[in-house]
């Protein structure tokens, strides 16, 4: 399987990670201030990163990957190497190592909170979440059985506000087209549509041949929307 190194972040995740790192900085500095015998600050940071290393169990919460740290491998490693050679030094650095390990659980918490915050900020069942910015949108013929048409951008934006999500019969649609009774039901595809800012949601939207239906394929769901008026018009 190929993997693309394309970073994509959504806003809820950035917010929670920001909080997590702030917590780290606060605990770290308060730890540092309390100590009468100050360690080297760069080394203390390194020890924290080392302490973060752990044996953990990965699982998915609402399709979001989280992991529970079980064994503090990094801390053990540091104990083995530092404590054995210099007990006094270990006493100074110990707190930072465990702070690092403890951070596994802060990340666990943010991992669990991300989908919850996400659902508070964005409604995944609302078509306008996926079709939030349609000014740059365009329609293309994706099936040659239909005629090329152009997109009525303002009407699309207006119709989306009152659009109704409808039930549909996927088997029926599939059968009528495969039997040749009907032409492909969705012969148009939209481009240049953006989901709500910060959501990082992706969708592919097909337009029904009468121009009054939108089939929005999201990453793990499909929404079918009917509009009052056609969002397509004949080109000049």
């Amino acid at each position: 399987m190929s993997y693309n190194f394309e970073w994509s972040w959504n806003l809820p995740e950035i917010i929670l990670l920001g909080i997590a790192y702030s917590i780290f900085i606060i605990i770290f500095t308060s730890l540092y201030k309390k100590q009468s015998e100050k360690p080297h600050i760069g080394k203390a940071l390194l020890i924290s990163f080392g302490g973060f290393i752990s044996f953990s169990i990965d699982f998915h919460f609402q399709e979001y990957p989280v992991s529970i740290a079980v064994l503090p491998l990094g801390v053990w490693f540091l104990i083995f190497f530092i404590k054995r050679s210099d007990e006094e030094r270990w006493r100074i650095y110990r707190g930072y190592a465990w702070l690092g390990f403890g951070f596994n659980y802060v990340f666990l918490l943010t991992g669990l909170l991300t989908p919850l915050l996400f659902n508070l900020m964005y409604n995944k069942n609302d078509p306008t979440t996926y079709l939030a910015h349609t000014d740059e949108a365009d329609v293309h013929l994706s099936h040659e059985s239909a005629e090329p048409q152009i997109l009525h951008n303002e009407r699309l934006a207006a119709e989306l506000k009152n659009a109704q999500i409808e039930e549909f019969d996927s088997v029926g649609w599939h059968r009528e087209a495969e039997d040749g009774e009907e032409k492909e039901r969705f012969p148009y595809v939209l481009s240049g549509v953006e989901a709500e800012s910060g959501s990082d949601l992706k969708a592919v939207t097909f337009v029904e041949k009468d121009g009054k239906g939108l089939l929005i394929q999201t990453q793990n769901d499909q929404l079918y929307v009917r509009t009052e008026q056609s969002v397509l018009e004949k080109g000049e």
Binding site: P115, S142, H143, E144, R185, D200, L201, N220
Partner: protein, 250 residues
């Protein structure tokens, strides 16, 4: 003081090494592809053919070029070349000229090209290329999914019997859109829905026509040997005209 000196020297060394080794790769252009005689020799060593003539030299980018050729026996063939380690090297070759999808970077549809070199005896007047995704449906509990068929046409006029064409913008867009759906994002949703798994595959097909507009097959153009030096060359499949009729196209 000693420490600073050491760090300073190390830094200087790193900068020097980067300039010496990395910069030339980015600054000097690889230049023109090799002479036809060099191409011939390389193609002949990759295939059991004698090359009679390189018909044309078409550079696709600074680093990629397409060479249609004719063999001593009159077969039509194709070779693609790429720049590797600043040197032009053979990427792939074929002793047939059937339409092929040359994926310069298989991860990036923007680099896909359709290439062909048709034999005149096949009498091809026009080729329609199609990008196709199968129609499908899924039902999982209360969730329903309908996968519309994609059947997008690109007509290619054959004023010349060979060519290299980047895939149309719409095909790129369609592939990018599907790719974005399949990819996991910061929301952690990695293709758990059936839509992302198997039936999402976009194929490229072609339909050749003679000068009377009749569907034909490419008999003489077909080759039987191909060679690849790491370039991804996907066969573009001949489409049964019946399929167009069934889909009420035309």
């Amino acid at each position: 003081m000693k420490k600073k000196l050491l760090i300073g020297t190390l830094l200087l060394l790193v900068v020097l090494l980067t300039t010496v080794f990395i910069l030339p790769f980015n600054i000097t252009k690889p230049g023109d592809p090799p002479e036809n005689s060099v191409l011939k020799k390389e193609i002949e060593s990759s295939l059991p053919v004698e090359v009679d003539q390189i018909i044309d030299r078409q550079q696709v980018s600074d680093n990629h070029a397409f060479f249609p050729f004719i063999t001593e026996e009159g077969q039509r063939g194709m070779s693609v070349w790429k720049v590797e380690n600043r040197k032009w090297t053979i990427g792939a070759s074929d002793n047939g000229g059937e339409p092929t999808l040359w994926k310069i970077d298989p991860e990036d549809p923007d680099t896909f090209n359709m290439i062909y070199n048709l034999h005149p005896d096949d009498g091809v007047d026009k080729i329609d290329f199609y990008s196709k995704r199968d129609r499908n449906y899924h039902i999982a509990g209360e969730y329903q999914t309908y996968v519309p068929q994609i059947m997008s046409k690109e007509e290619v006029d054959l004023s010349r019997s060979y060519g290299v064409h980047p895939i149309p913008e719409l095909w790129k867009e369609l592939q990018h859109q599907q790719g974005a759906l399949a990819q996991s994002n910061g929301n952690g949703r990695r293709g758990l829905s059936p839509i992302n798994s198997t039936n999402n595959h976009i194929q490229t097909l072609y339909v050749p026509y003679d000068d009377e507009g009749e569907h034909i097959r490419l008999e003489q153009t077909a080759g039987d040997h191909s060679f690849s030096n790491g370039e991804q060359m996907d066969l573009i499949i001949w489409m049964d005209p019946l399929e167009l009729e069934e889909e009420q196209i035309q």
